[in-house]
Symmetry: C2
Subunit: 218 residues, 2 copies
């Protein structure tokens, strides 16, 4: 299934069987991940990669930051590449050469626009909080107008995008298959610990539902 | 302590208290992380960010890939930005606005060089396998000359580099401190599951020590 725009940049030259262009695969990776890496080109033509949080609003990726931040000022109306990576397992082959990892990654190219409408920005900030902590926005008060304006939110259409996925066992050459070496996978998992209450709480409240029942979308 | 080169690119304009320029802090983040994101500028001047594995060889960062890969061909002798990010906890404040995360990240700028000497490349490949799976290189046979030459290894001095770290509790404004909202942290941990033996093993071997005792350096 191919429903994203495939361009020279999103097409894999090597290992094309690892590429995926369907929106469901791309969206699932975006939604499960908490961190993305935003690539920009600075004034001197040099690359800069900055980690940040993201949220997905339908077919758009949202990132945000202080209205004063370098990332936000540089990425606005300029070409970016946003990459999201999930590591699923380490792949131990019979030879060092064939060691690998199972992973799911997404690359999105495009030109983000800043959201300038207050209501749209408010909605986008809610999407971003929900992406990091599902259910949290209902537990806190609404954003004030000042808070909305102090944060810049950029919107990048998920159009020129693709996923790259490796899964499965190690693959060795036939001549190494009889080597007396164990081969297999080491699963890599992200776990969330028990909530830690802030020391400066003034009320004796149990941890919020969003924290005690924390889980990523799957 | 400042022992890395501080430049305009590695100096934080906002929240400078989060910046660290000591090699120990930078190295510990590099060593704990399994994935880095490499930013390059393509032929058309647009950013591209590619995830890959890395290893640290003293004061150099190593990345590798097929000698035929776009990343390796483009990054060689060109400006790159390599960013490494570890997420430690989600920070739930009393207001949506002050939600944050505790993280440790490293940014390294520079021009990588390809290792061309076979012995150096062999050593570098061992460093890379050990970075992903400590102890593994002693469990597998040595690399052949063909394997060494099929893989391109780039070496980037960790010189123009800095770390950025947020830790600690949520920070809310005084006017929100009495709100009846729980605030605190949700710890984020990377765990490694029990080894999964490859189906096509021809010998009945227990999982390797490197897999059963798997842990990241801390």
């Amino acid at each position: 299934m191919t429903d994203l725009e495939t361009t020279d940049r999103t097409t894999l030259k090597r290992l094309p069987q690892r590429a995926h262009f369907d929106r469901d695969t791309v969206n699932a990776i975006i939604d499960e991940a908490m961190v993305c890496h935003v690539g920009i080109v600075d004034e001197d033509g040099r690359p800069v990669v900055i980690p940040t949080f993201h949220g997905r609003d339908g077919d758009d990726l949202l990132i945000h930051g202080s209205a004063a931040s370098r990332l936000l000022r540089t990425a606005r109306n300029r070409e970016v590449c946003i990459t999201i990576t999930l590591l699923d397992s380490l792949v131990l082959a019979r030879t060092a050469f064939h060691h690998s990892a199972n992973y799911r990654s997404v690359v999105i190219f495009g030109v983000p626009e800043q959201i300038t409408d207050d209501d749209e920005a408010d909605h986008a900030l809610t999407v971003l909080v929900e992406a990091l902590v599902p259910g949290r926005s209902a537990e806190v008060r609404a954003n004030t107008r000042n808070e909305i304006r102090a944060t810049a939110v950029l919107r990048l259409p998920i159009t020129e995008a693709s996923a790259k996925v490796r899964s499965g066992p190690p693959v060795d050459d036939e001549e190494d298959m009889d080597a007396p070496v164990w081969a297999g996978l080491i699963p890599v998992e992200t776990r969330f610990g028990a909530p830690i209450t802030a020391d400066d709480m003034r009320m004796d409240l149990p941890p919020a539902d969003s924290a005690t029942n924390y889980r990523r979308p799957v």
